[in-house]
């Protein structure tokens, strides 16, 4: 449910109130998932941002098909709050998750070294894709939190522990 639209049961139901914007929003996300960045990394970053912003709807929806097809490890999803120390996360994933956390918690705290590290792993095209994805996901998570009823935002247990970004 949503206070904005009776009968709305999802983000898509609400976005349908503005079809042109809905189409553009979907296109942005489609391009992100089809770009060069490993979709497993993208999905972990999306879920990490959802956790920090408290958007349980993002956890309740299906995992990214692209990430699943690429072999997303659900064990890593479950242990994501400990990504900075868990050896299951590789260096590229850690660098990207660190940037994702910093983006949400304190974007002005992002350093030259942090961007350079991510650039070393995924290249400049990846950095642009990743940060544009951050913008799209932050928009999405805040949209959900603002307009979806609590009944769609509960029923998920999320660990809001932040372990990577300062």
């Amino acid at each position: 449910m949503s206070w904005l639209l009776n009968g709305a049961s999802s983000r898509d139901d609400l976005l349908a109130l503005h079809p042109a914007l809905a189409a553009d929003h979907h296109r942005v996300l489609d391009e992100v998932w089809q770009a060069s960045v490993d979709p497993r990394i993208l999905e972990l970053c999306r879920l990490r941002m959802a956790t920090i912003l408290g958007n349980t709807a993002a956890w309740n929806e299906r995992r990214s098909p692209a990430a699943v097809a690429a072999g997303l490890d659900e064990a890593l999803v479950v242990s994501m709050a400990a990504w900075s120390t868990d050896p299951g996360f590789d260096a590229a994933t850690k660098a990207c998750l660190g940037l994702a956390e910093q983006y949400v918690i304190d974007v002005h705290g992002i350093t030259d070294a942090q961007v350079a590290e991510v650039n070393d792993h995924i290249g400049p095209d990846g950095v642009i894709t990743l940060t544009t994805a951050f913008a799209a996901w932050e928009l999405t998570h805040r949209f959900d939190n603002s307009l979806l009823d609590n009944s769609l935002l509960d029923n998920a247990v999320i660990d809001t522990t932040s372990t990577g970004a300062s």
């Binding site: 503005h18 489609d30 391009e31 992100v32 961007v115 642009i128 544009t132 799209a136």
Partner: protein
Amino acid sequence: MSTTARLPSAIDGKPATLQSVMAHSPRVRAAFDKMYATLWSRGSVDLDVKELVRLRNARVTDCGL
């Protein structure tokens, strides 16, 4: 906020600016720009209200651009 690009320009001979750096991922960026344009050009909210909201958001998030 850094006011110096942290990535090189994607366009030969062009300095690193917001546009030339974003060109590293042209399809993603074009899609985002189209969505941004739709936000401004479509819908029932008056343009002056949108601009006030944009400026207020920039103030709150300390966006120097």
